[in-house]
């Protein structure tokens, strides 16, 4: 591969990597979710925590992103909302990821 092609390859990789970073930031931003006047991220950690705690108690406390406690009185409702938001953002990210993969071919 000559240097011109290597540069083109490098430019494309930079562009794809940056597009991926931007899409991830967008996804994290869209995962922010208000619940009971507290702020949560609809990510794997929050879903796992809620899923685990709900197996032991009917209601419980969790910390929001600003370390404020939130009383979860209806764990099923909260978990459903977390999953819905999480999957909505991941579907959107998956589409962009696929576009980027096609661009690299």
């Amino acid at each position: 591969m000559d240097i011109g092609n290597i540069k083109k390859h490098s430019d494309l990789n930079f562009e794809v990597a940056q597009a991926k970073k931007n899409a991830l930031e967008k996804m994290r931003s869209r995962q922010l979710m208000a619940y009971n006047e507290r702020l949560f991220t609809a990510d794997a950690n929050t879903m796992n925590l809620v899923s685990t705690l709900k197996q032991h108690n009917k209601d419980f406390y969790v910390l929001d992103v600003n370390d404020n406690p939130c009383h979860i009185k209806d764990p099923d409702d909260f978990l459903n909302k977390l999953i819905e938001r999480n999957q909505e953002t991941l579907n959107s990210y998956q589409q962009l990821h696929q576009d980027l993969a096609n661009k690299r071919k």
Partner: protein
């Protein structure tokens, strides 16, 4: 509890901020669907095209500040923002620069939570070239006043009183916190006030930004296309602070 958006918009001899505000209003209507109040002066007010239901508050603004923009020093009318607590008619206010464009409903999620004041403490440069932040700009934990959510509480009242105090004695605080930037900047005044009062929450995700050397070359209601050097990229569905002040001039 009433939630609304408060914008400050003053045209300067060099830049048509009212054009940015017009576009900003379109985006707010599409994604946030909230009531909007624009604080402006009479001269700028006369230039606005009819925007439908908007509350205008006319003030005589201070005209003593400047900023560097694309290699020039230009007028910068940014001191009225310290009066946002008094100017806002809302219980929960989203105070926003008119060069911040919403392409999502994320701010609504933030507004529906409990806090006194919430703003960004990190930025994400969409070009990936990290052109926004300099090194060792101050000894202060920096925040960005571009988007500031606040509720009318005693704590917030104290924060805005402190911001006005910092503005009045800015040279002192500038020395105290070893701020390199020469002119008065709201980001620093807000950061100093929050630091002094030990208050405020940070928005957990960074503010996406485009530096003033990046040109916006196209846009629609869902996103924008931007160019830096030979690189052309786009963003959609993501709120963005655009420092190119001329892209809405047509």
């Amino acid at each position: 509890m009433k939630t609304g958006v408060l914008l400050y918009c003053f045209d300067t001899p060099e830049l048509n901020y009212h054009r940015l505000a017009e576009r900003c209003v379109e985006q707010i209507r599409k994604y946030l669907k909230l009531e909007i109040t624009i604080v402006t002066n009479l001269e700028t007010f006369k230039k606005f095209r009819p925007l439908g239901m908007i509350n205008y508050k006319l003030v005589e603004n201070s005209t003593t500040n400047t900023r560097p923009y694309r290699g020039k020093s230009v007028a910068w009318y940014n001191k009225e923002r310290a009066l946002a607590y008094e100017h806002s008619p809302y219980d929960t206010t989203i105070l926003m620069d008119c060069d911040y464009f919403v392409f999502s409903s994320t701010l609504l999620e933030l507004a529906n939570t409990k806090f006194d004041m919430m703003l960004h403490d990190r930025v994400h440069d969409l070009t990936g070239k990290n052109m926004i932040l300099g090194k060792d700009e101050s000894t202060l934990p920096l925040v960005w006043a571009t988007v500031t959510l606040f509720k009318k509480t005693e704590n917030t009242k104290a924060i805005f009183s402190m911001i006005r105090h910092v503005q009045e004695y800015y040279p002192h605080y500038k020395n105290l916190y070893r701020i390199r930037y020469i002119n008065y900047r709201n980001d620093y005044a807000f950061a100093i006030a929050l630091h002094q009062l030990n208050l405020g929450n940070c928005i957990p995700t960074p503010m996406t930004m485009l530096a003033d050397s990046v040109d916006v070359i196209d846009s629609d209601g869902d996103g924008i296309v931007f160019k830096h050097g030979d690189d052309v990229m786009f963003t959609s569905g993501q709120d963005v602070h655009v420092m190119d002040k001329e892209w809405c001039n047509g």
